[in-house]
Symmetry: C2
Subunit: 116 residues, 2 copies
């Protein structure tokens, strides 16, 4: 996968409306009109978001002229998840440090209480 493909994926995900569209498509393919309903947005505005998602390969649109259902394509999401996975040890380390710190605080608290 080229780095630009990954850039396009992350850029497509950097908008809350586009993430909400993907969340909607996770429950099944649907038409643009249906997709637009929960959003306080014009059809052209929604179409613009769909084009970004389509270019990033995150959705595929049917070829029927009248009804062009949108379908989720998860491949690029996997690539994005794989990229993030390399950093897992960093967030797990931060979490472990936080746990140690909380444990230390509780021990101190316990000692103070036993003195009182």
């Amino acid at each position: 996968m080229s780095p630009d493909r990954l850039s396009a994926t992350f850029a497509a995900l950097s908008d809350p409306t586009r993430r909400a569209i993907l969340a909607r498509l996770a429950s099944g393919e649907t038409s643009v009109t249906e997709l637009a309903q929960p959003f306080a947005m014009s059809l052209p505005a929604i179409s613009k978001h769909l084009k970004v998602l389509e270019r990033a390969g995150l959705i595929v649109r049917g070829r029927e002229a009248q009804w062009r259902p949108c379908r989720l394509e998860a491949g690029p999401l996997k690539d994005a998840a794989d990229w993030l996975e390399r950093y897992r040890r960093f967030w797990e380390e931060s979490f472990a440090r936080l746990e140690d710190y909380l444990e230390e605080l509780q021990t101190k608290e316990g000692k103070r209480e036993s003195k009182d």
Copy 2:
């Protein structure tokens, strides 16, 4: 986490230079000058990328006036990974379908060979 925090994280990750900076910081904190070395980029250009990463909470910079080392902050990467995780079943399903298809092709190929 607010949706905009997630948007800022994905937007920060949508650039190959910024992802390369994070990859570099994964091996330890470093100065801006050192960070800039592998890139054919001016210090102001690198500083601009660092500001995007800093605003997204992906890096923290030291407060020393002379040497302001950059350090990776993995918290927002975890949140991005958690968001992507919801779609895991979709890419796993696609992969399973592809496997089924390849198996089918091999069976057909096998039958043809035994006929020849």
